[in-house]
Symmetry: C2
C-alpha cells in the first residue's frame, strides 16, 4: 500500500481525492498499485462536506499529514510560498516524496527545493503546476528527452485566454469580458495574477528550466498583462491575419535565452491560434521532432487532479521497485538572458494621427531613422474628430529602437493620445 | 553503459542512430546515462554510407545484434511481421528489452508479444509506433493514468491527411493529390497501406488496447479508405461547416467498444480539423481531464527516432535502478465490440437526381420509412444533363438503416449513378 497525504482540500485537493477514490480499482488494474489517501489536512474543517472521508483521516493540522508514518507521498495543494514551502521542506526531511501544483513556489524556490530533495533522495512531482490536465511536463522531460528544445510557445493562463477570446469573438471590451469571467468563476475577484501575466510567468519559468536547463529566475522573464489590449487592435490584428493572445515564449539561441509573457499577435493559421476560451496549450519545437503541440484544460478540480494523480502513480511505481534516484536532472547550466531591449521581432503599431497629408511620411521617416522598415499600412478614412488611426506592421525590429522611435513619433504635433505597439510572434512553424 | 543494438538502418534507424550520436552529451547531462549504440544490423550494407559508424559495429546479420552480450536493448526497426517477430521473440528470450516502431506487428501479435515479455521480465517500448514524434503513448498510459478514457479521435496517417488537405485547400482530385504526394516522397509507390486506412487501423488498434484495456483485433476495426472521396463532397462539406479527414475513432460505452477508420466529416471548429498536411494528432477524452490533444509530425527519421530514443532513455533509467517489472498492464478485459451496422451517427448523403418536382419528396419518404430524419438539404440548380446533386445531412441514424434506405433510393428511376454517404463525427467537444 502506498499512503497519500493531502495538504489543502480546495479545488485541486478535492479533485485529487475524488479521482483516487473513484478510480481506485482502475488504477489498481492498470498498475497493480494499492494507493490510498490516509491523511488530509485543511484549516477549514467545513471543506470535507460533500466528500465521504473516513473518520480519523481529516485534520486541521498539516503536520499531522507530514508526520504520519503511513504517508509516503505528501501532496501539497495549498499554493503560495508560505507555509507551503516549510511544509514541503519538512516533509522532504522526513523522507517523504512530494507532489505539488504550486507554480509560484516552484518558480521562486526551484534551486533550493531540488537541492534539498536531491540530498534526501526525494522526488518532487509537478505535472499539475503547468497546463492542468495536459501531461506537458512528462512530454518535455521524457517524451522529448532526445531533443534539444529550440522554442516554447505557451497559452498558459485560461483566465486571460478566456477574456481575449471573448474580446475577439464577441467584440467585447476588456472590462466587460473580465466582469463576465468573474461572474462565471473563471476570473478571481482580484484578477491581477492572471491578467497581468504573473501566473503565466511562473509556469513559463518552470517550462524554461525544464527545457533549457537554465536557472532562469522569475525576474528574468519580461512580462506584460492584457489589460491594455483594446478591441480596435484586435480588429486590426484580424485584418492583417493575426489573433492577439497572451503568449508565453521562451527560446534559446547561441546559449542565450529569451523568455517573455505578454499579449502578442499570432498568425491565424498557426495551430496555437485556435486555442480558445479557458483551454491551455503548449507548443514545443524540438530539434528532432519539429513542432509538437499539447492542448487541454489548464485548470479545474478533475483536470488538475488528474495531473496530480499521474505523478502519484509514477512515484508509487518507482517506490515499489525501490527506486531512489530522482529522474529530473538538477544540474542547471547558467546561460545568458537576453533583455527585452535586444529582442528582435516584427511589430504592430498604431498611432492616432491628424488626417492630413504628410503625416505618414513623417512617421515613416522617424521609423527609417531607427532602421525599422514597414511591411504593411492601414490608414482608415476621415473621422469627425479629425484624428484617424494609422496602423502599421514592421519587419523585424530591435525592441529598443522601436520604443525610441515610438517616443519620438508621439512628440509630433500631428499625433494625439497614446500610441500602441504589440509584438508579432510568428510561432516557429 | 547501456548498450543499444539496432536492427534495420532505414529511415527511422538512421534517425535513431543520429540522435543517440549527436545528443549523447545532452542525454548524459539530463539523465546521467551513458547510452551507446554497440551493434547495427541491416541486410543492405550500403546503408551505412553517409553515417560515421565505427568499425565492427555494422553487420548484415540481425542475430549478431541479438546475441551481442553488450546489447541491453534491441531496437527493431525493420517493420512487417516477419522476420521482425522472430527477432523480437528471440531477443526477449535472451533477456533483452525491446524498442519497436512496428505497428503492424504490435497490432497483430500484441497478446503473444506481451505475454512472452512478461514471462521474461522484459519491457517492450513502442512510443514510435503511433504518431511518430508525438509522445502520445506516454501521455495516455502515464499522463492520463487516473482517467477512464471515453473517446479517442486520431489523425494517424500523414499520407492520407496530406492528400485530403491538398484536395480541400487546392481543390485537387484524389489522383492528382496522390501523384503529387508520390512525387514528394510522402506516399509510397504502392500507397495501399496508407490510403486504404490499414496503417491507421494498426495504430488505432494499439491506442484502443492501451486506452480501453480490451484485446481488440485488427479485424474488429471497421475500415474504409479515402480513394472514394470526391472534390464535390469536400465542397459540400465546407458549405455545411465540415472538413473531410481520415479519422480513427474508438469509443467505449456500456463495456462495448466501437472502433473505426474511415473518411468522415469533422466540424471546422473542432481542434482536430486544423491538423493539416503530413501532421498527425490524437484527441483523447478522459473522464477527468476532458479533451486533450497531442499534435506533431507523425513520421520521418528524426521525429520517429526521437520517440525511439525516449523509450530507450526510459528503459535505461529503469535498468540502472534494477527495475524488473514492466509498467504496462497486460491484463486485458474482454469487451463487446459494436459492429458497424449498429453504429449511430449523423450522415451526409449525396444523390444524383433528375431535376424535377417530387424527387425530394420521394427520397425523404424512403428515409422517413427507415426512421432517418433530415437536418439540412442543399439542392443545386438545373444542369444541362438534367441531373443535379441533392445533398442532405441527417440527424443520428443507425448505419444499417442508412445503407438500406440508400439502396432503396438508388433504385428510384429518377436517381442516376452512385449515391454517396459519409459519416459525421462531431468529435466529443
Amino acid at each position: 500500500m502506498i499512503g497519500i497525504g493531502i495538504i489543502g482540500l480546495g479545488t485541486v485537493g478535492t479533485g485529487t481525492y475524488k479521482i483516487l477514490k473513484e478510480h481506485f480499482a482502475l488504477i489498481k488494474h492498470r498498475t497493480g498499485l494499492h494507493i490510498e489517501v490516509v491523511k488530509i489536512a485543511d484549516i477549514d474543517l467545513k471543506r470535507r462536506k460533500g466528500l465521504t472521508i473516513e473518520k480519523g483521516i481529516f485534520t486541521s493540522n498539516a503536520l499531522d499529514v507530514i508526520n504520519d508514518r503511513k504517508v509516503h507521498i505528501v501532496v501539497e495543494l495549498i499554493g503560495g510560498i508560505n507555509p507551503a514551502y516549510d511544509y514541503i521542506l519538512s516533509a522532504i526531511k522526513q523522507g517523504k516524496w512530494i507532489v505539488t501544483a504550486n507554480k509560484a513556489l516552484l518558480a521562486e524556490k526551484w534551486d533550493k527545493l531540488f537541492n534539498v530533495a536531491a540530498r534526501h533522495n526525494c522526488e518532487i512531482g509537478f505535472e499539475a503546476s503547468v497546463c492542468g490536465g495536459i501531461p506537458v511536463i512528462r512530454a518535455i522531460r521524457e517524451g522529448l528527452v532526445g531533443n534539444r528544445i529550440l522554442y516554447i510557445l505557451g497559452i498558459l493562463n485560461g483566465t486571460s485566454n478566456y477574456i481575449l477570446s471573448r474580446m475577439t469573438d464577441e467584440g467585447m471590451s476588456f472590462n466587460d469580458a473580465l466582469q463576465e469571467a468573474q461572474r462565471l468563476g473563471i476570473a478571481e475577484q482580484d484578477p491581477t495574477l492572471d491578467i497581468e501575466g504573473i501566473d503565466a510567468v511562473h509556469k513559463l519559468c518552470i517550462l524554461t528550466r525544464l527545457a533549457f536547463h537554465s536557472p532562469i529566475k522569475v525576474n528574468d522573464i519580461i512580462r506584460d498583462g492584457i489589460s491594455r489590449i483594446e478591441p480596435i487592435d484586435i480588429g486590426f490584428a484580424k485584418e492583417f491575419g493575426y489573433k492577439i493572445k497572451l503568449l508565453a515564449v521562451a527560446k534559446e539561441r547561441n546559449d542565450t535565452i529569451e523568455a517573455r509573457v505578454e499579449p502578442a499577435m499570432l498568425p491565424v493559421d498557426h495551430p496555437m491560434s485556435n486555442v480558445n476560451g479557458v483551454y491551455n496549450a503548449t507548443y514545443v519545437v524540438g530539434d528532432m521532432t519539429g513542432p509538437n503541440l499539447y492542448y487541454g484544460k489548464g485548470a479545474g478540480a478533475e483536470p488538475t487532479g488528474s495531473a496530480v494523480v499521474s505523478d502519484i502513480v509514477d512515484m508509487a511505481l518507482r517506490m515499489r521497485e525501490g527506486r531512489k534516484t530522482p529522474i529530473i536532472s538538477v544540474s542547471m547550466v547558467e546561460k545568458k538572458i537576453r533583455s527585452g531591449e535586444e529582442s528582435r521581432v516584427p511589430y504592430y503599431i498604431r498611432f492616432n494621427a491628424q488626417d492630413r497629408p504628410g503625416v505618414l511620411s513623417k512617421i515613416s521617416g522617424i521609423l527609417a531613422k531607427y532602421n525599422i522598415s514597414i511591411s504593411a499600412v492601414i490608414q482608415k478614412g476621415r473621422k469627425e474628430s479629425g484624428h484617424v488611426p494609422i496602423v502599421m506592421l514592421t519587419h523585424e525590429a530591435i525592441e529598443k529602437n522601436l520604443k525610441q522611435a515610438k517616443r519620438e513619433i508621439n512628440k509630433l504635433p500631428v499625433i494625439k493620445g497614446e500610441s500602441v505597439h504589440i509584438r508579432i510572434e510568428e510561432g516557429m512553424l
